[in-house]
Amino acid sequence: MSTTTAAHHDDHGHDSHGHPTGLMRWVKSTNHKDIGTMYLWFSFAMFMFAGALAMGIRAELFQPGLQFVQPDVFNQLTTLHGLIMIFGAIMPAFVGFANWQVPLMIGAPDMAFPRLNNMSFWLLIPAAILLLASFFVPGGAASGGWTMYPPLSVQGGMSVDMSILALHILGVSSIVGSINIITTIFNMRAPGMTLMKMPMFVWTWLITAYLLIAAMPVLAGALTMLITDRHFGTTFFNAAGGGDPVLFQHVFWFFGHPEVYIMILPAFGILSTIIPTFARKPLFGYASMVYATAAIAVLSFVVWAHHMFTTGMPVAGQLFFMYSTMLISVPTGVKVFNWLATMWKGSMTFETPMLFSVAVVFLFTIGGLTGLVCAILPVDIQLQDTYYVVAHFHYVLFSGAAMSIMGGVYYWLPKWTGHMYDEKLGKWHFWTTTIAFNVTFFPMHFTGLAGMPRRIPDYSQQFAEFNMISSLGAFALGISQLLFLYVVIKCVRGGTKATNQVWEGAHGLEWTVASPAPFHTFETPPQVK
């Protein structure tokens, strides 16, 4: 295709003369950038809300004894904190990045299905309303944990149904969104952009989209069985009828473990974008990064039962899942080594995005190594359902996924808004977040090892000191995020004008367009050499 085709682009309903304004610009949007922006703001709102729930959890755990909430309310807080952080904050944030960046990075005019793209976003709203409203129905919100294991979740009230249906809607949103992303990547790349020339972020999202399409329907199946067990007398998860509560766990984690990688692979993509930029050096081992990502994705479907080591599987099952889980650390290790090799002999500077990225490599590796500890089945017997696991997955999900998101936001904010963010405040946000995060979660390794179970509102006195430290850290972590909000708003409203390339070491198509990126970009596909 050549530039001569550009002349024809306007001969039908395509609105490219300026863009709609007001509320309708957002409600009726078919523009990947606007939809990406909505995703990101939605995710940030959910992040703050679920974070507020976490503040409630930490306030109650500040001291032994019951101070603020009754045990049942405490369980509601932990359940909704998990559900909303995963499905409301982290996943939509990554989809927001995909919306903004994938078309820009591959030189596409928009996503393959712009209207479905907007639907994926607008389906988040009813799901969020159902989850938030569930606090106000009789009996309060769902309190059986985000994993919703039966029979406990069969006992719950209307709020459990609301949560299940919210997840169904989110599932539809994710599946439609993933189909859109896969199609965009396969069918909308600019001429010359071969698969092995795609930016790493696009690769990680391509693989993530596959994981979503394969995993979300399985979750839908599990939730459907749960709802029929609750209301229509089926016995999938009831031994009296020949079913098994553990069956739910198998089906759930068959979704749930790929879900873990759904939340981390795009983060890997962000790191693989930021680190080369600030090291001023190409990504080391691009091909092996692609293969490692694919290997992680494939393996993620055969490790699920490591979440269930204490359910009493037969030896053969235990061994299989222990070995496969240990194996998955190999490709993950390859990624970490590649990032280090990218930094090695670079010419590094440490703007906020790079600070976040370096911290993520460091802290995520802690989470990865504690994951390896948990993979050793006999050790996991002692750690399962303790605070050690809470520490482990927060190192992976907060300092892995959430901090990558923050780094990515700082990295692309100038492209999105046309302004540089306040570097000084950005660094403040980085340091307060990183320090507060570690103060919160590092002690949990010790409380977990010493035997504190998770999901309890009250604990024996031996754990008092560490819990108090964790709570203080958590409050600081919460307050730090207000600073993030301030920096972002400040950047949206004004600041130093950003150049097109923004960062000295940045490469790729997204840096060839103006800052802020125009409403329509690459209507004529660029030629990639």
Binding site: M1, T5, A6, D11, H12, G13, H14, D15, P20, K28, T30, A108, P109, A112, F113, P114, R115, N118, M119, W122, L123, I125, P126, I129, L130, D161, A166, H168, I169, I175, I179, T183, F186, N187, M188, I213, A215, M216, P217, V218, A220, G221, A222, T224, I227, R230, H231, G233, T234, T235, F236, A239, A240, G241, G242, G243, D244, L247, H250, V251
Partner: protein, 276 residues
């Protein structure tokens, strides 16, 4: 890249996504209320259903209009192919979850329960079973009556649909119409027989794990056949209106893919739910 003379079609602002969101909100919220016996639930669900019907009708009308107006170039056509393919894959995974439950129950949980003599001293493993706690006798569904006939019907419907597709490609519109009509008819007969089978069945969805897996799998399959038949009817309607030509008929192909997928699921159902 193709040698198209037009750019990729990008639709302008659209209300449909918001309508979709509202429809699903009404349906889900209403359903949660119905399940918990809140009176408001039923009217909300009806409103949601109507709004969903309006949405599907309106949105597809818009897309079909764009297609008939030749806004879509080759690249858009490829997008639709990718999209439909991966949508069907997601459906495959949905059924995969239920088949997984069936295999787990038969090979893992039922034998384990039979081993748990301390709790269920009289329970013997076997299939079909309603589990150790549900003791009413029931008769299971055998494969060689209606289900075998239904298998033949669905397989034949796959053949008639392919025959219709040949007609379309050879520009023989009569063959196309007859083939489509036959396929829809076979689908309807299948559904009728399936309902008959349900009515005559010697067990219910509450008959332990056998009843649960049977009705869940065949029920969701039946739902998909219903949707497929409706989509085929729409395609027939469009054919009557003169849509599609021998090169450009992805709407037809998409529905055909879907119908074959539903066929294949049935074969698995026949083997694992009825037969073995």
């Amino acid at each position: 890249m193709s040698q198209d003379t037009k750019n990729y079609y990008l639709p302008g602002p659209s209300f449909w996504p918001l309508i979709a969101s509202i429809s699903l909100f009404l349906l889900a919220g209403g359903f949660a209320m119905v399940l918990n016996k809140v009176a408001m639930g039923t009217p909300l669900m009806i409103a949601g259903g109507l709004s969903l019907a309006y949405l599907l009708f309106g949105w597809f009308k818009e897309v079909i209009g764009e297609s008939v107006s030749k806004f879509y170039n080759k690249q858009v056509d490829i997008s639709f192919r990718w999209g439909m393919g991966w949508f069907i894959f997601s459906e495959v995974m949905f059924f995969f979850g239920f088949f997984g439950a069936l295999f787990y129950a038969r090979n893992v949980s039922v034998p384990w329960l039979a081993d748990a003599k301390l709790l269920w001293p009289n329970f013997v493993a076997g299939w079909p079973t309603s589990g150790p706690g549900i003791t009413e006798a029931f008769t299971a569904m055998g494969p060689w009556g209606l289900p075998a006939i239904n298998t033949l019907i669905l397989l034949t419907s796959g053949a008639t649909l392919t025959w219709a597709h040949w007609g379309l490609m050879k520009n023989q519109r009569t063959q196309l119409k007859v083939g489509l009509a036959l396929t829809i008819l076979l689908g309807a007969i299948f559904l009728y027989l399936q309902m008959h089978e349900y009515a005559e069945a010697g067990f219910t969805i509450k008959t332990g794990i056998y009843g649960a897996t049977f009705y869940m799998l065949t029920g969701f399959h039946g739902l998909h056949v219903t949707m497929g038949a409706i989509m085929l009817a729409i395609i027939l309607f469009r054919v009557m209106k003169g849509h599609f030509d021998s090169h450009d008929h992805f709407g037809f192909e998409a529905v055909a893919w879907y119908w074959h997928f539903v066929d294949v699921v049935w074969l698995f159902l026949f083997i694992f739910v009825y037969w073995l």
